[in-house]
Subunit: 212 residues, 2 copies
Amino acid sequence: MKKPYISKNVIQRMPRYLRTLTELQKEGTNRVSSGELGARLGLTPSQIRQDFSCFGGFGQQGYGYNVKTLRDEIAAILGMDRGYQMILVGTGKIGQSLLENFDFESCGFKLRAAFDIRHDLIGEDICGVPVLDCSEMEDFIRNNGIHVAVLSTTRGGAQRVADALIAGGIRAIWNFTECELSPGESDVIIESIHFSESLLRLGYHLSNGASA
Amino acid sequence: MKKPYISKNVIQRMPRYLRTLTELQKEGTNRVSSGELGARLGLTPSQIRQDFSCFGGFGQQGYGYNVKTLRDEIAAILGMDRGYQMILVGTGKIGQSLLENFDFESCGFKLRAAFDIRHDLIGEDICGVPVLDCSEMEDFIRNNGIHVAVLSTTRGGAQRVADALIAGGIRAIWNFTECELSPGESDVIIESIHFSESLLRLGYHLSNGASA
DNA sequence: TAGATTGTTAATCGATTAACAATC
DNA sequence: TAGATTGTTAATCGATTAACAATC
């Protein structure tokens, strides 16, 4: 009911606001102004007020923003309070790294199971997450109301796995493969982390920077 | 000599152009128009021509673009032909995953060594890359003309390691830690991959999407 | 109350799209 | 030549910044 279209740039900034507010909260700060927040993030106070007003505005004139309230509002906008259920597909190095190091909980996601085709891993637990056989994947999604799949398989069958996830009724894919996944006819949400694009941008800045 | 300021959005799109052109090349296509390229990438032909004209324009009227020529030009813009030298710091799961799966070569980077503090790994080779002791890091950067460091340590000492890298004279850091690194007084280039920001964006789309 | 700071409207700036002459 | 498609200029659109009345 609150969507008069939010621009990509605003959405891009929301997680950064969240991070900063979480920091402020840890530091014990109760109150923050758009000016202070802007200084921390390298943004103008105007932009910050504009961004927040997209969602209705969370501040108080003459005072600023209550750190906790603002953080909670942004967390809600990002869906962190919805308890989204996740699975992870592909327990290679990158998958294991996520299982061991990434704090899904603090993003509000619940990782329920991992899937692989390698029989030596199936049946094991990695950091409390059971590794199951890929053949059970579609049923697991359906039976457990899974919303999101982390796709961390090797390049090879990425689209094929994605198709199976979509067939199982997944609503979003967090894609760590270098493949450009296609949603096909579905309206699945695909959020990709493309390592090579990031590295090539770095290369651009290195080649064309101030001292280049 | 070719920098009348290129916008962030254009730089963001360059690696995607490269990827598509590489695909076209593999498919054996010699020629492509801005219209065809646009259709593949979901961009308007106008935008593509504008983007390329930032760098001088690489096409030919009535014909379009030669796939190989265009790809090579973009590769050069992204610095892929410069043979940038790299090290990787932190050979945990994410570091190992990069060593084993990421194709540094195809991005034009040369990975020379990895560093860790864990003595059981030091002296080993991972995929042909020697693992050295962190204490040798600064000297190694200086003695081998290293341009870029992949930072894949655990959260804890990330900024401290970054400071050491900067002290050693590194020119760019590819940051995989969740930390917001500070360049301090240096003009080091920092390109970060923040997993949680990506996942939270996914959460936003899931909570506010069409069917939400 | 006086001071501070919001939310919002208006102004500016930049990026995308459209149009078209140039030309292969 | 006629058709196609570029590079570029102009028009539009959207995002950021500035300004300010509202108000805590």
